[in-house]
Symmetry: C2
Subunit: 208 residues, 2 copies
């Protein structure tokens, strides 16, 4: 259909090791109209990192000003650590162009974004089971036993927030998970509340 309309904001959470990054990357590869949100940070760029692509690199002062100007959908400050935030402008500009924006974020961040942006669509990517998640973490070969224990414990805590999300996608296989994300994007665009302009046009007393 030729309708040009505002894209969606897709908030995606899920435990470490569940494959969020892989699913989102595959989704973006198949759909050029899906973009990843770019975070702002006060951390200095690492070699090869490009401002505006990997992050928006900000000084502490710039970050402070952005907070004052309500320029973040959400941000996180921990004393003595680098700051991270989601600039509103990037998300807005892409959505206005009709692109969908994915925001990979933890449960706390997702709550803040949903409060700031009630029309955000929230998706939790879940493992088929906690055992399988643990196997995947072990399979990475880079995690210590302690780190695996911490991550599986955290995963269980995160899974308890699942009912707060709109949708759950179980990452059995990447292809299935991507197909499910595609269905969510398609269906959300068909919600009547996202088509008020079209409805007005259809019922707007056009001569028949």
């Amino acid at each position: 259909m030729a309708r040009v309309k505002r894209g969606l904001l897709l908030v995606v959470s899920g435990p470490a090791g569940v494959g969020k990054g892989t699913v989102n990357a595959a989704l973006m590869e198949r759909h050029p109209e899906v973009k990843m949100s770019v975070s702002a940070t006060t951390r200095p760029p690492r070699p090869g990192e490009i401002d505006g692509v990997h992050y928006f690199f900000k000084t502490k002062e710039e970050f402070d000003r952005m907070i004052e100007e309500d320029a973040f959908l959400e941000y996180m400050r921990v004393f003595g650590m680098n700051d991270y935030g989601t600039p509103r402008a990037f998300v807005e500009q892409e959505r206005e162009k009709g692109n969908h924006v994915i925001l990979e974020i933890d449960v706390q961040g997702a709550r803040k974004v949903k409060a700031a942006c009630p029309d955000a669509v929230t998706v939790f990517i879940a493992p088929p089971s906690l055992d399988i998640l643990k196997e995947r973490l072990v399979g990475r070969g880079t995690e210590t036993q302690e780190s695996i224990d911490v991550r599986t414990k955290t995963a269980l805590e995160e899974l308890k927030a699942l009912p707060e999300y709109d949708y759950m996608v179980v990452n059995d296989t990447v292809d299935e998970a991507v197909a499910e994300m595609e269905a969510i994007l398609s269906a959300e665009r068909l919600k009547t509340e996202r088509n008020t302009d079209l409805i007005t046009k259809l019922t707007g007393g056009e001569p028949i």
Copy 2:
């Protein structure tokens, strides 16, 4: 995924001539797990009509008893006319088997079903424009000018109820419309509120 779960109830409305029947038939042909709701009626069967397939044929007394027993999701009685109703049992049985049930119904009926069954998914099939709807009605070659005028006027009234529906599918082409219905079915099954059993299982203290 191997999850066996309750199917959806899809309430489908749309003006005469929009192609609801064609879209639903194509959807059912591609998805054997999608069934059409079978109405009960006091009208006598026409030649070739099979009880339980085309309709559940009921006497006035049987229909009365079904009303008393709250056996209808909705029904319509007009004095001196045949009665029509949607038996709850058929819809329930199919949904319990994991099948999705389509209920083609007008705006009034859709409201009753949504009230009786709040987890129903409501879809309005809309024409690309009222002009195109009118062309389709003219194209049938079976409608008088008067009938076309009445139908387009009714269509405009029905379109005003669009915001009450969850989703709108614009029937540009049958293939696109069917793909959109498929996306709605897929996405709705991924809603967290429809996966409480799975969430309980995932967080249910399985040893990790």
